[in-house]
């Protein structure tokens, strides 16, 4: 694997792009705010625009043509502004090249990454001192010819440039003393020359590389083995700039006498077959609303708050406990509860906990989505409704599960109704929307650092005996919800007074069966095959059925069942609702009988 210098490290300044080139291949080099250097194909995958025209925002490089954003390091496309909703769930990734920084230069290779080599081979000569890059000199001549000429480059030792009387003004000349400087070409590699100039003990090494830009274009990139002391540095740099410029003129004059070689033709690697076709329109879950991320902030140690304001039409109203589907730039769809209080209709506010182990929804929101981005969302849906006709309302929150309960608490407060909020968190730093929780005063109690066993005991103490019309709302991790349901049951809380909302369905879904589904109102019978859901079978026959989480947690795709035995696999229905056998969630639940009749 051959490494070539493509830039001086100092060229990659704060939030700029730099046009690099190796053997005819155009590259964009840019430094992110975390100091990572990126070296990519200089083409946006969308329509071939040069990315050197793009905008380096410190974390991503945005194409100037259509605003596509590519992430630092991976070059993965993170945002396609033209399609906030049905952005293809495809991995668009630009081509990256091996890159390294060494001796004040940025190095790249257009050959495949060789795992053993993290950069150009180390040179003892430059490892020891304080290597100082010279100003690069562009030469319109073939690289090999430039390297030949460099082997004959002669210069003064750095100290000699300024030590002689009047030397500061004399950097233009290479003047040999009586007997001459001891100047020698120490080593000559194909496109690298190592030179030494000595005046007794005063010795300077120069390693010069020729960057092969194209068949007839080169850049001389020299590095001195030591950094000349401050007053002399400028003189030394001028000395080399002047002499190398003269060398350039000689090489170009010589090259002009010979035929100019054809530019190197580089092959543009085709995109994958999956990316080459136009993506199909997204079907199923609808996201008719467009929102702009007006504010993104840290709502707890591992929670990002997002304030979403409407783009175009105003936002529809919502009830306490409602959630929205958020369609992410990476193609995933996720559900988030609104934390808004009543009447806050100018924006939606949600909290997103970072789950690095999950399939990428929260990571995308934390790392990729930023203020100003447009996202597609569904209208709010409420399957976790709040009753305001009770004498006692208990709100139990586990971690990020507090979000729907915040909306409920504000609603109750607004109506002058009492409530008790209990927030279970690891410690205070992990309490989402802490300021809002604090504003509830004595009505909100924090419980920190409890084990599952202690949590269950604490919930028992909080609940106590059920009193007339008391209602319990719980949202949090699955084990906490299960424990709460059990504790409430033991304390005699009627099932219909215990309301819960799971973030996710922990059940392992069995989808191995096949059965028929008859639709009573449509007069249609469908076959549900293994690995297909009832919901998918309905949609395959153009039957409209709303859905949201599509994993049996949110309750949006509920259907009434008129006949047949149901295999419930959701976490939405209560025990008695399941037992009644008259409704099912079509996204996960199936039949144990050969046939189901739905009221559709």
């Amino acid at each position: 694997m051959t490494w070539h210098p493509v830039a001086s490290s100092a060229d990659l300044t704060y939030r700029t792009t730099y046009h690099a080139q190796i053997l005819g291949r155009e590259l964009v080099a840019w430094r992110a705010d975390d100091d990572a250097v990126n070296l990519w194909e200089n083409r946006c995958l969308h329509r071939g625009s040069r990315l050197t025209l793009g905008i380096n925002d410190g974390a991503e490089l945005m194409c100037r043509y259509h605003g596509w954003r590519y992430a630092n390091r991976t070059a993965g496309c993170t945002y396609i502004p033209a399609h906030p909703a049905d952005a293809p769930a495809r991995s668009v990734c630009n081509r990256t090249y091996p890159v390294a920084e060494r001796y004040g230069l940025v190095w790249g290779s257009v050959e495949p990454q060789d795992s053993g080599q993290a950069g150009p081979p180390a040179l003892d000569l430059l490892e020891a001192g304080d290597p100082t890059p010279l100003r690069p000199i562009v030469v319109n001549a073939p690289p090999a010819k430039v390297a030949d000429a460099l082997a004959g480059y002669r210069f003064q030792p750095s100290a000699a440039v300024t030590q002689r009387p009047g030397a500061a003004a004399d950097w233009r000349s290479y003047r040999s003393p009586e007997g001459g400087w001891d100047v020698a070409t120490v080593e000559r590699d194909e496109l690298r020359v190592t030179l030494r100039a000595a005046d007794g003990d005063d010795e300077t090494h120069l390693v010069a590389w020729v960057q092969p830009v194209d068949a007839h274009r080169s850049v001389i990139r020299g590095v001195l083995d030591a950094r000349p002391p401050a007053p002399a540095r400028l003189a030394v740099l001028r000395h080399h700039n002047h002499l190398l410029s003269r060398l350039r003129d000689r090489v170009e004059e010589q090259a002009a006498l010979e035929p100019v070689p054809e530019p190197i033709q580089v092959e543009i690697v085709p995109v994958s077959v999956e990316l080459s076709g136009m993506p199909e329109l997204g079907a199923g879950r609808r996201a008719p609303l467009r929102v702009r991320v007006a504010r993104k902030w840290s709502a707890a140690a591992d929670v990002a708050g997002f304030e979403l304001e409407p783009v175009g039409s105003p936002l529809p109203g919502f009830q306490a406990g409602a959630h929205i589907d958020l369609h992410l730039p990476n193609g995933l769809v996720r559900q988030y509860s609104l934390t808004n209080g009543p009447g806050e209709s100018d924006c939606y506010r949600i909290g997103v906990k970072l789950e690095p182990e999950s399939s990428g929804g929260s990571v995308c929101l934390h790392e990729t989505v930023r203020e100003g981005d447009v996202l597609a969302i569904s209208a709010p849906r409420n399957n976790f409704t709040l009753s305001r006709a009770s004498e006692r309302t208990v709100l139990l929150a586990g971690g990020i599960g507090i979000t729907p309960l915040l909306s409920m608490a504000q609603t109750l407060r607004q109506s002058g109704l009492a409530f008790e909020m209990h927030a279970f968190v690891r410690d205070r730093r992990f309490l989402p929307f802490g300021e809002l929780v604090t504003s509830f005063g004595d009505a909100a109690v924090e419980h920190q650092g409890l084990s599952p066993q202690q949590t269950a005991e604490e919930i028992g103490r909080i609940l106590g005996e059920h009193t007339l019309s008391a209602q319990l709302y719980v949202c949090g991790p699955a084990p906490m919800i299960e424990a709460t349901i059990q504790v409430a049951d033991e304390l005699g809380w009627p099932e219909e007074s215990v309301h819960f909302e799971y973030f996710a369905n922990p059940t392992e879904i069995d989808d191995s069966t096949a059965f028929d589904v008859a639709l009573a109102r449509s007069g249609l019978t469908l076959r549900v095959e293994p690995a297909q859901t009832v919901l998918q079978a309905l949609r395959a026959h153009d039957i409209d059925m709303p859905s949201s989480c599509e994993q049996g947690a949110c309750g949006t795709c509920l259907a009434s069942v008129l006949e047949g035995e149901i295999l419930h696999q959701d976490v939405y229905l209560s025990r008695s609702e399941r037992a009644a056998g008259d409704r099912m969630l079509t996204c996960v639940s199936r039949a144990t009988s050969d046939r189901l009749v739905l009221d559709l």
């Binding site: 071939g48 050197t52 043509y65 605003g67 033209a82 909703a85 293809p88 007839h216 981005d373």
Partner: protein
């Protein structure tokens, strides 16, 4: 160092009509010379104001007086839509139609002829594209966060033109006569491989549509002159104001499309990554391939 252009050998392109100059830019009785499809071509207006076009003759240098009657070896010529069109081959009897051109109350004129270092098909695609409005024409034809390109329709008509309809985009200042942001509806039309047109609501009269076209003169495969043609309902602004607006918009496009690589339009599906917003460009690329065009494109390897 651009290689010396070789003359076009694409029979389909040679038989097409090509724009070479705005009629209003021609000095009667003087030699004008330009390059078309890699070959120099000269033109003038005769005593009756009719354009005459011939393959350039080194003896008749640009600016020299010429008696058009003495030019016997003439190329086919049409004076249409304010421009002179010619062909090296056997062009169709008629040019495509722009019915609005004949509406008596419209203002029709050549707005600008601008050299661009790209291929004609790249410029056509850019003209059909809405997704770049917020990024390239910021604050005029688009603005963040209104970046979405909603689903639209593309068809190939019975006259074998590419037509895109129901194209909606939010525009802060869609035209010079516009005073506030609005959802603007566009219709796009490609009536000729190197010509793109758009129709959009004319702010003074929502029932009528302004028509704007670019006629592309392929100087070489990768060098064009974009001739801007306006056919407007606007009666408020002067010609000069409308021209300046058009030039401003095109001036924003020019550096962008000059930095698309490769310059010739790749027709192989795997050359670039389309999204749904690119429906019209996908149709245009297939249409070019079906027409058998090879000049200004990179044909799909057989």
């Amino acid at each position: 160092m651009a290689p010396v252009a070789s003359p076009c050998t694409d029979p389909v392109v040679l038989d097409m009509w090509h724009p070479i100059s705005a009629v209003a830019e021609i000095k009667p009785g003087r030699v004008h010379t330009t390059q078309l499809l890699g070959s120099p071509v000269s033109y003038t207006l005769d005593g009756d104001g009719r354009p005459v076009v011939w393959r350039a003759d080194p003896a008749l240098r640009p600016g020299m007086p010429v008696d058009a009657a003495r030019i016997t070896e003439r190329l086919p010529v049409i004076d249409r839509f304010c421009f002179v069109w010619t062909s090296y081959g056997d062009p169709p009897d008629r040019l495509f139609s722009i019915p609005e051109f004949d509406e008596s109350d419209r203002r029709t004129f050549a707005a600008a002829s601008i050299g661009v270092h790209t291929s004609a098909p790249r410029a056509v695609e850019n003209f059909l594209d809405m997704g770049h409005f917020p990024y390239v024409h910021t604050g005029i034809l688009g603005v963040e966060p209104h970046t979405e390109v909603v689903e639209y329709d593309v068809d190939i008509t019975d006259d074998n033109e590419v037509v895109a309809t129901r194209c909606l985009f939010y525009q802060p200042l869609a035209a010079l006569a516009a005073t506030k942001g609005q959802m603007t509806e566009y219709t796009y039309r490609v009536p000729h491989p190197y010509v793109a047109m758009l129709y959009k609501t004319a702010p003074p009269d929502p029932s009528r549509l302004d028509a704007i076209a670019i006629f592309l003169q392929a100087v070489t495969e990768e060098q064009i002159v974009a001739h801007n043609f306006l056919c407007m309902v606007d009666h408020t602004n002067t010609d000069s104001e409308l021209k300046i607006f058009q030039q401003k918009i095109f001036g924003q496009d020019k550096p962008i499309i000059e930095n698309q690589m490769p310059r010739r339009l790749p027709l192989a599906p795997r050359a670039e990554t389309p999204i749904r917003a690119d429906k019209s460009s996908i149709t245009y690329r297939r249409w070019l391939a079906d027409l058998g065009i090879t000049y200004g494109v990179i044909p799909e390897a057989a």
